[in-house]
Symmetry: C2
Subunit: 318 residues, 2 copies
Amino acid sequence: MLAGIDIGGTKTAFALGERQGDEIAASWRRATEPTQDASADLLRMADDVRTLLEEAGLAPGELEAVGVSAAGPLDPGQGVLLEPPNLPWHRAPVVGVLSQALGCPVFLDNDANAAALAEWLYGAGRGTRHMVYLTMSTGVGAGLVLDGRIHRGVACSAGEVGHVPVVWDGEPCSCGMRGCLEAYVGGAAWTRRLVEHTPPSSRVAALTPAGATPRPEQVVLAAREGDAFALSELARFNDYLARGIVQVAFTLAPELVVLGTIPTAAGEALCLDPVREQVHARLWPVIGDGLRIEASGLGESLPDYAGLSVAREGLARS
Amino acid sequence: MLAGIDIGGTKTAFALGERQGDEIAASWRRATEPTQDASADLLRMADDVRTLLEEAGLAPGELEAVGVSAAGPLDPGQGVLLEPPNLPWHRAPVVGVLSQALGCPVFLDNDANAAALAEWLYGAGRGTRHMVYLTMSTGVGAGLVLDGRIHRGVACSAGEVGHVPVVWDGEPCSCGMRGCLEAYVGGAAWTRRLVEHTPPSSRVAALTPAGATPRPEQVVLAAREGDAFALSELARFNDYLARGIVQVAFTLAPELVVLGTIPTAAGEALCLDPVREQVHARLWPVIGDGLRIEASGLGESLPDYAGLSVAREGLARS
């Protein structure tokens, strides 16, 4: 039996699953509620895992490995989460604390790699050899499955596709650089743009809850109703997303690019079809003919699989 | 003993080397002189290998494997060179003809992968785990060594970094697309630009042989003499090359990018130093601090190692 922990900025998902097979044996989610004391927070997570094992009628000794998925730079050798962007932790000893508390190997990976592994092992990417997963929510990142293995690169920092320049010296990005893909298609950047540009008369404004700022969700809803502003915003999003996929495809020639949250929510007609068309128009046939572009196969249940996938991959590697 | 054959558009290089170690036991080059009959041309190459073995005092039975490097799309499963851009061959059965003629396994790879392997096994990339080699002569391509293996992607078409758009809808490229890196830093594209833009009063024009068109070689020579036009041309070259390296670095986080012909000829002060500076200014420190950018370590002797490297890698894989 394996356990997975997906530590998000707001929610943490816990899941148990067999080393083989797709079944989630047990799962639950709770608010992350982090404190300044990472070790105490991690020990509480170990308790959550023990409770889940108990509820599933399993002894602690049946736990073979734990996988942890979290945002942010990490030191895989030390098993330490360095400076997570959404948590008040600093150099959190994830692997040390959890492996001691749970008495089994613990593997740690960043959220983009974990999501790529989850789609590859359980979702849209099953059976592929070369697959790229693009996280597309607040920020944009990639997990690269190449020749059936995650490519991590130096300092585990490969896959920062969100910061490839799509317009040289273009829009400022929250990373401090300019023209990054994320500055055009990241959810946070898009939200800032919507605050500035949404016409009060558009459906995007009408669909935005009172007192809130308009977000990509409202653009998708308004576009479904045919709102002109929403459709132009989505066309812009699709255009820049296609540029990002084109560079990945010429560089890596993957079989499959799986798109995360925003494209999956927008769906085939509003996002995937136009993106496919634009990408294929800018690729050589030898690369484009072998490339599929698909929505996430796991969607909302991805957090249940992310940590388990890290555990499976960690065991396979060790 | 391994044999390597590097089939270039004008010259073919033959070399013998041990499976371990860096020594070239014997080598020679001759004009490629291809005919329409690929099989006959390949049999002649097998004769060249036998002659080289004989001259080195070796029996044909001592040949363990042959590696072949050639430009162009290939079918690695069938061992067939499909439509080589510089040869009048069509679906040349390289592996079939040579393995039957020489009685040992034959491995075929494209020139970018072969050059990457050569630099990784014998040249600037020794000891690295993640290395990108950029061929930079007539065209621009990449060989990607990731986690100590060549990444080939679907249809062996990964590494087409020369066709990543660096300016969306920019300059037309000979591939039919627009804005490709190759349209800015490829030798053929640069030569076309020089024909149009070289001022008759510049040193570039003065250094160009009578009756010839100015080429990147003359730009490098004139830049060494401080010619303003040549320096502005090199600055432009370096700027676009840096853009290409930035996208590769954010995507793959390699330890090392090895630059091919033109940058190696231009050298540290005119090319490598300014490129390093521009690349590092546009990368995050976590990626930039781990990245070196170097000239080819093999230079003119690269063809001697290209085929041998394909043989070594092929044996290691099989």
